[in-house]
Amino acid sequence: MNGKIVPSVCSYCGTGCGVLFQVVNGKLVGTMPLKTHPVNEGKLCIKGWHLHEYVNSPTRLRSPLIKMNGRFRQATWDKALHFASDRLKAIIEKYGPDSVGVLVSAKITNEENYLAQKFARAAIGTNNVDHCARL
């Protein structure tokens, strides 16, 4: 029997509440609020209290899917990334960079959001960057 408590940040919304994950025998079994976290001071909303459920959910996507002939098929990361970059390149070539938009999210970190806008502006060449909260 082994167990540990892992501090983390709730990934459900942009508030960023501090949480503690309870891990028993290598399995995530529960979530508690982090009491000394400056954002949530020991409180959570119902989504935060149940974070461990989506991690363990049987319907969770564990690998990328590529839609081919109207159906989603499992793919490796390499294959999915190549597929996406090839299609993006083809679209940009044909319709120009402003035909692409990048939607970022409150669920990812500040640094990841920064990288996403950098990708949009520097790699794709568009200012079409928006946020899920404005959709």
């Binding site: 029997m1 408590i5 501090p7 309870q22 399995k27 609020p33 009491k35 000394t36 119902i46 209290w49």
Partner: protein, 268 residues
């Protein structure tokens, strides 16, 4: 204290000791084990409280034979008593080390988050219930005003279930608060006052007044006071003090056979 914990771990008297360790400036609950005995030197105590006994129930649910040690304040002690009486933990498998929390000249420090309650703001004082007032003061309002003030408090509830999830003595496999006949899913505000009164009734003869529910409530609802009022009735009518008395609560009408086995680990 640390030597005692090391000794217990080394001698196999406990497999896991639940205490606190400082991690990046945050005192977090920590599982101390024999393989990492050196960590025991980093054990800390302080005003921050987590329901350690709730973690113990999780561990026991995984392996009913596991021997658990834990730091206990007065509130943890009362919670353990209730959990033993309701067969949630086996007293033979639980060892505890007391830690000081109550204020006294003889103790190095008064060490409890309850000692520094937040002051109620002026609006809450005017229309709601100040969390820090006594039972007598709460009963001082006339009936109509009392209903209005409590309704104001209950109305704020965001149905996070934090009060239940933080509570060391809320352990039912199927919680009434999730029963759709009592509490509709998806609606806010919650069914008032059913949601809060169902829980209050369940806390009669069970709540050990630790205040963790209130600390977890994002809406600052005076839950501790509510359960205190309920348990004052239990004390007056049944002469029963949950967590202190060593017999089952008078509300355990179903007898010892009541099925309150620990929740499955995959259950919510």
């Amino acid at each position: 204290m640390k030597d005692q914990i090391k000794q217990w771990l080394q001698q196999g008297k406990v497999d896991i000791f639940l205490g606190y360790k400082m991690v990046e400036g945050h005192p977090l609950p920590h599982f101390f084990v024999k393989d990492r005995l050196y960590e025991v030197d980093e054990l800390v105590t302080g005003p921050i409280r987590y329901p350690l006994e709730k973690l113990a129930i999780r561990l026991a649910a995984e392996d009913p034979e596991v021997k658990i040690g834990l730091l206990v304040r007065d509130c943890n002690r009362r919670a353990l008593n209730v959990l033993f009486l309701w067969h949630q933990l086996n007293p033979d498998n639980v060892m505890s080390i007391p830690v000081n929390c109550c204020p006294s000249n003889l103790a190095d420090q008064a060490n409890c988050s309850l000692l520094k309650p937040e002051k109620a703001g002026p609006y809450k004082e005017m229309v709601g219930i100040d969390n820090n007032i006594s039972i007598e003061e709460a009963k001082g309002f006339d009936q109509e005003e009392r209903l209005r003030r409590w309704t104001y408090e209950f109305d704020k509830c965001i149905k996070c279930y934090g009060c239940r999830d933080a509570c060391p003595v809320c352990f039912c496999k199927e919680c009434s608060l999730e029963h759709h006949a009592l509490v509709k899913t998806g609606d806010l505000p919650v069914d008032i006052p059913i949601f809060h009164l169902v829980r209050a009734v369940h806390m009669a003869g069970r709540c050990i007044d630790c205040g963790l529910c209130e600390e977890a409530c994002p809406m600052d609802i005076p839950l501790r006071l509510l359960y205190k009022m309920v348990n004052q009735i239990v004390l007056n009518v049944f002469k029963y003090n949950p967590g202190i008395d060593s017999v089952q609560s008078p509300f355990n009408m179903l007898g010892d056979e009541v099925t309150l086995e620990p929740k499955g680990l995959n259950a919510a």
